[in-house]
Amino acid sequence: MATHAEAADHHHGPPIANQSSRVDSRVLGMLLFIASEVMLFGAFFTAYFFVRVVNGIAWPSEGIELPVFVAGVNTAILVTSSFTVHWALQSIKRDNRAGMQAGLVLTLALGFVFLLTQAREYSRVGFAPSDGAFGTIFYGLTGLHGAHVFVGLMLLTFATIRAFRGHYSAAHHHGVEIPGIYWHFVDVMWIVVYTTIYIL
């Protein structure tokens, strides 16, 4: 069986690939991933559209009051965390390691508070996912978003660990920038979810 190695001198590295675009490949990869994430949310919003607009069910169901104010505060928390992660990125771009570390830790803390508040809301909101189409859509969309917050927090945790172990510099800050882009996406998505579920 012929293998690729036979024809190869294996004490040899690959040639430098040509850079045919000004966009960084890692940033582009994250943007495309976010595009597919937007479509995932799109599918859940399609279900929302069918239930709320086409079927026209009562929103929220009778006898249920959504905690619009608490969720609004939670929204403010998440929006703030977008600014702190941006601060972390700007700091490391200026080689300010302490600023980067503080920004990342603050972002993690704010994201964690957001998730806890959401969990607390679940336990007190008074209905379950199986309680009619309203409960289904409410838990479906907020739960999908919560899962994304969780993933974003994981990515930020890895960045934070590396930030405290001496990685990243003004020249190499993609490890902070790329989780940051994802975090902004999670943030913007929450504003859409909050508006459609709680306010409208």
Binding site: M1, A7, P14, N18, A43, R162
Partner: protein, 646 residues
Amino acid sequence: MSETTTAHSHAPQHSSDEPPRRRHWLLAAGWLRSFWMTGFFFLLGMGIVVGLRALGGYDPALDWEVVIVVGALTMAPLGFLSGIGAFDYWVSYAIGRPTRPEDHSSHGAYSWKDYFKVNTDHKVIGIQYVTTTIFFFLAGGLLALLVRAELARPETNYVDTQTYNELFSVHASLMIFLFIIPAFAGLANFVVPLMLGAPDMAFPRLNALSYWLLPIAGTMLLASFFFPGVGAGWTNYAPLAVDQPFGNVFFSMAVQWAGASSIMTALNFLVTIITMRAPGMTFWRMPLLVWANFTTSLLVVIATPFIAASQFLVLFDRMMHTNFFDPGDGGYVLGYQHIFWFYSHPAVYIMMLPGFGIVSEVISTFSRKPIFGYRLMALSLMAILVLGFSVWAHHMFVSGMAGYLRVPMMVTTLLIAIPTGIKVFSWLATLWEGKLHFSAPMLWALGFVTMFVIGGLSGVMLGAVPIDIHVSDTYFIVAHIHYVLLGGSLFTIFAGIYYWFPKMTGRMYDERLAKLHFWLTLVAFNATFFPMHLIGIQGMPRRVATYEPQFGDWNLFISLSSFVLGASFMIFVYNMIVSWKSGPPAPGNPWRGMTIEWLVSSPPPVFNFDEVPQVVGSPYEYGVKGARHAILNGDRATDVEPVRTP
């Protein structure tokens, strides 16, 4: 990440600052570790389920159905992937260890055993993809033969009706999610970086991961026979799917794994094509195979999340008793079909566009003529991409959906025939007055054009609402889908495999066996599927194990033909195995092709090129004196003046 782009070490790779750490044999990445980690992660998932259920006061705390979904179908595969070593680099990145992005220790195959390890070389991954998908193709084909055995006589013969439903459901799922889509991804994985003049894909480790998700998805689908329930067709319509036995979750979860695999690969292709083209390779100089994979990858990234969502929602409706599709409690029963077909219609182009690319390469090379209407060929791919998102409800003409959706969807469906027709006529014009060489890849390509036109014509018929209403859910549909997917996609996959077999393995296949394979498949294929048009129009319903005796003769004939069709693939398997082992060595450029993959040796060197090639012209200037597509470093001295063609 794009490590390979920054790596430029001409020193021996194992002499970097840190010697590779020797791990205990139970902890070293490989099959042994994946074995115990699969079990360990299953127990972990089981612990999470039992713990959370006990905490939340659910009764019983140990619910086996939940344990299977979380433990066996979610956590155990993650354990397998961790064990085999797919996550090693990212784990050491995540815990803050210094990483060596230029580490190529898992690159290239030095013995057959390396094909069973996590490998970051796009050529090895391509071969892993193709062989794995052919395995699932044979498994899916066997299921089809069981279906035909059952249908040979009108009454139930060998299997009960639920088993029959599972046979055709798993057959279709395997063929679509584990064969056609990933087989194209595998061929492209091997060829696209070479065609671009890139040393590898943009994200080699992501590439490896996306391969290793496939065996997981395939195993789940096959294992579903031990947990009955995948009996709602490959479309898995809710609420029917929710009422199936518990095993239906195996379909829902297998689709998640296969879908994740295709999204990762597509993302990788897009980034590779955008950022790693060789100097001089503008978009209008890319081979059409690259164009085809570019558009396909866009489709995958945009559309696949919808099938992921549709299966999540079915899973929630079953496991958490939500009401997404339950009309009794405010859910929207047609919602599933809309969400599903918003993926699955574009998915038929995901299963066809890469084949268009392969056929464009093959027809141009074997006609010794430039492809006719190159730019229009590329633009028609884009047109299919855009139109493909506007036609999904033509699968739902009889579903009871809003009536006003019918005519617009019919119009857009028929519009798609225009870009597709442009492609067919361009191939014909390429053949016109060409110097045709009827080697096996060319035969498959010509067979494809012929069969695909038949499938396309029945597609135009089905796109018209009145005809569709008459033949919905009959064998006419079965005939149509097999003419476009078997006569279409499968024929292009064979064209691609025969075309690049010398490049992939460094050996030539047996041409006589390849031609025998082609003719036998072509005849048996038409004998199997053409009569289905007739019995379909007469009203024989699909997806039912029994039928009216009046269809008995045709069905017996179809079943017998299908066994010949099945046997014809054995010639292929034999030819591939024997030729790979002991075929005559292949020259670097057996077909006198112009694209870059033919400028390197067969098989290509482990890093593809010593130096990135320089692209100087169009990829299809066959028959134009002195025309070159690209020049490699060694050629510079004897370089001929690049010729610009009108």
